[in-house]
């Protein structure tokens, strides 16, 4: 099949899970002999066209701009639409696949003028991310999310909790929705690393316990609850050292919060970490904490599990579906520092238990969360969408 994939995020333009999802899926589809064209935005140092393991990536320049984010979004959709239209003179796409609301306008337009089926993957919703709709932009984004589900022939979501969200908030019929979980590239973690040297780079001494957070610094990720849990963790485990990667609009608030605890010197904000460094850092951690309060899937939990690191996660959304409590990881109450501290201390205080969790987790990941399996299920969705 000839697949037209539209996404605002694709490596090296990485923000959250969508970039990793699109890359993993696209590569696996190519391995299954599909012709995949990804249309995404440009990024410094990257050519406008490149092939990444067989995936044809079109990085697109946005020739007009506007200070407002939503206006800019509609502008880049226009330029993407133009590029899709031009390429479609040479490539007869079978299906158009969009990811999240940011490429809804180009997806819907392309569906109609190319007369091809549209498949939409809803990775998360505005009402979930923002815990309500609080501004005109929020209402607009919510509308675009409804529209992408309405215009699509098939809608893919990454967890049952996301399916519930779409059915309840947007009234998308159940029979239109396919649940296909995310996956993880396990080959990235099949390497030897110098654990001590990696930890040293992030200010963690050999005897210290690296408590790792990976993700955007925004309220839905629940980092503030991990920071509030820090005193209880350090009291039980004085060697605990917190490394918080990522960036986001809550960063200043979180840094201030960390400084206000007595353990500000044990909490390090290291900012953006490249993908390859993130693999090494994850593999070097003693525990990975995913304290999300809203999490449609939680790809970072999968990455922790495949890296052989025990995962302590909020019992929400997709995390509750990925992790089997007390067998492949530890689930804790969201928004509850005491519960988070309990979970982290449980893992740090019992190395035998941690090892047992990670062994079970790795086995589960290998059996269930491969990109090959996701690509096969996605192809089935494309075939359903193409049926008249």
């Amino acid at each position: 099949m000839k697949i037209c994939m539209l996404t605002w995020e694709f490596p090296p333009r990485i923000v959250g899970g969508i970039a990793r999802h699109c890359l993993g899926l696209a590569k696996a589809l190519v391995k299954d002999n599909h012709d995949v064209h990804v249309f995404t935005l440009d990024f410094p140092g990257v050519p406008l066209y490149e092939e990444v393991e067989g995936v044809r990536v079109h990085h697109m320049r946005v020739e007009l701009g506007h200070p407002s984010f939503t206006t800019w979004t509609f502008l880049f959709n226009h330029f993407m639409e133009k590029q899709v239209a031009m390429l479609s003179r040479d490539v007869d796409f079978d299906v158009i696949h969009i990811h999240d609301w940011l490429t809804t306008p180009v997806g819907v337009a392309s569906k109609h003028y190319l007369n091809k089926p549209l498949v939409s993957t809803v990775h998360s919703t505005e009402i979930g991310r923002a815990q309500g709709l609080h501004s005109p932009d929020s209402f607009l984004i919510d509308g675009l999310e409804w529209w992408m589900a309405y215009e699509a022939k098939r809608v893919i979501v990454v967890s049952n909790s996301m399916r519930w969200e779409l059915q309840n908030h947007f009234h998308v019929p159940q029979e239109k929705i396919d649940v296909i979980p995310n996956a993880v590239d396990m080959t990235k973690y099949q390497k030897e690393i110098d654990r001590e040297s990696v930890r040293r780079r992030y200010g963690v001494a050999p005897h210290e316990k690296l408590v790792l957070f990976i993700g955007r610094l925004v309220p839905q990720k629940g980092v503030e609850y991990l920071i509030w849990a820090a005193p209880a963790i350090v009291q039980r485990c004085p060697e605990a050292k917190f490394v918080i990667t990522g960036d986001g609009w809550s960063k200043s608030y979180l840094e201030g919060l960390a400084a206000s605890t007595r353990y500000g010197d044990k909490i390090r904000f290291v900012g953006f970490v490249s993908d390859s460094d993130l693999v090494d850092l994850t593999m070097s951690a003693d525990v990975l904490v995913v304290p999300s309060v809203y999490e449609p899937f939680g790809i970072v939990a999968l990455e922790g599990m495949v890296a052989g690191v025990p995962v302590v996660a909020g019992n929400v959304g997709g995390l509750a579906e990925i992790i089997e409590h007390d067998r492949t990881g530890v689930l804790v109450h969201p928004r509850n520092p005491d519960s988070i501290a309990w979970g982290v201390n449980r893992v740090l205080s019992d190395p035998g238990y941690s090892q047992w969790l990670t062994k079970n987790a790795k086995k589960q990941i290998q059996e269930t969360y491969s990109w090959e399996a996701v690509a096969k299920r996605t192809t089935q969705v494309y075939e359903k969408a193409c049926m008249r």
Partner: protein, 78 residues
């Protein structure tokens, strides 16, 4: 959101994301409707954090968002 980060997002959205698309202070203040002094202050802060880079073109100083700056902007929006 801190003032300078909001300013960074606007710079990104108006397209100043490469040396070829860098903008002068005048151009930036016209686009953002921001007072020049405030724009200069934000630019100074953003250069310190390596989110913005300055370059001189035909004797005129121009500014654009760096790769780190783009990532910062994207993290604000997701």
């Amino acid at each position: 959101m801190p003032d300078e980060i909001f300013f960074l997002c606007m710079l990104h959205n108006i397209g100043a994301i490469s040396p070829e698309k860098s903008l002068t202070i005048d151009e930036i203040t016209r686009w953002t409707a921001m007072e020049p002094e405030k724009a200069r202050l934000n630019i100074r802060k953003l250069i310190e954090t390596n989110y913005i880079q300055a370059n001189i073109n035909a004797g005129v100083e121009r500014y654009h968002v760096t790769a780190d700056g783009i990532r910062k902007v994207l993290s604000m929006y997701s």
